[in-house]
Subunit: 155 residues, 3 copies
Amino acid sequence: MSGDLLAVHALLAEYGALLDLGHYDAWLDLFAAECRYSVVPRENYDAGLPVALILCDSRAMLEDRIDALRGANKYNIHTDRHLIGLPRIAAEHAGGLEIEAPFAVYQSDQEGDTRLFATGLYRDRLVPAGEALRIADKLVLLDTFAVPSLLATPL
Amino acid sequence: MSGDLLAVHALLAEYGALLDLGHYDAWLDLFAAECRYSVVPRENYDAGLPVALILCDSRAMLEDRIDALRGANKYNIHTDRHLIGLPRIAAEHAGGLEIEAPFAVYQSDQEGDTRLFATGLYRDRLVPAGEALRIADKLVLLDTFAVPSLLATPL
Amino acid sequence: MSGDLLAVHALLAEYGALLDLGHYDAWLDLFAAECRYSVVPRENYDAGLPVALILCDSRAMLEDRIDALRGANKYNIHTDRHLIGLPRIAAEHAGGLEIEAPFAVYQSDQEGDTRLFATGLYRDRLVPAGEALRIADKLVLLDTFAVPSLLATPL
């Protein structure tokens, strides 16, 4: 168990760091070849209405989305900072590890003002890939959905 | 030492996750049979005036408090998100592990607006229970005491 | 690797806890005998203009700075809370470990109001010292530079 938990720590740290650095290719490499990435408001999810704000159900879709972001971010005047809290292993089975981790994302503008952008919960299924773990399914449950510029920021 | 630190990580992750999910029975199970839970403003504590905002000095009292919360939360229109920072082991002795961890709690309302609710420091005494750890004493030192709805939110 | 990652967790937890407790002597002991501490706005750093807001390139300078802080903090009416996110090991070589960790600092005033003070990224070089790690170089990349009272708060 302890080795798994440390590997989860390491993966989540990479996840946040690579997003904040804008290293999107390396970030994509954290996902398994067959993967799914979705962002769903927590309220919808709890009500059984999993209408996703974002849904990429293949790696190719996720890559397309990142390409679009790169174009949009030329005009992007903020920087992001992900703070990811301590993860827990919710289940462990043949299909991989199910983990959860809370997160907060802050944005800073060009004047150097920083504000809270969003909070939520990652609910991931992770699969082994050699000695490391890769993301097979990432569900971002979003507490904050009243965000003006959601689509321009990977969560 | 390293095994202990990972077990502390795991316990704190469970603690925050179960509160945010509203899984209060499972949250109670993180406490030892004999336990204490208190919330004290940091300023009072530093001044040697440990007047608690909340004090439960038995498991039965803590269970009563949670029952009251469940009633109040029927009218509760916010959701919580705990972010718990990296813990440190301050002491290790026959009575258990003394640990500290900083935390921030965010609240989101039904419009999907999120704001910082409170920050503070957990100062816990943890005792072994099989392979896991349980909370024998949890002192929540609260930086933020100007909160309107404190009693409705477990910290 | 896993032992190193846990040691990094432990060091960062000490770092934030000791600052928030105001235990500056113990905090200084986390640094190696030869060390460097600097605070640079992220924007400047990314533009190749590493003009530091703070630069201490010896342990003696860092000690002097802490003495000055102690004097200033007699009139200091806020308390700090560091939340340090999961670290990643960016490189490991003969000169030590290169690590990164995101952070947020909150401040609370005497009325018990808490607000976000700053976010940023620690980029540290750590060197072994017995079983623990010490900080040989700490670069604080600051997202937030529009802060009125920066100099009074160690980051």
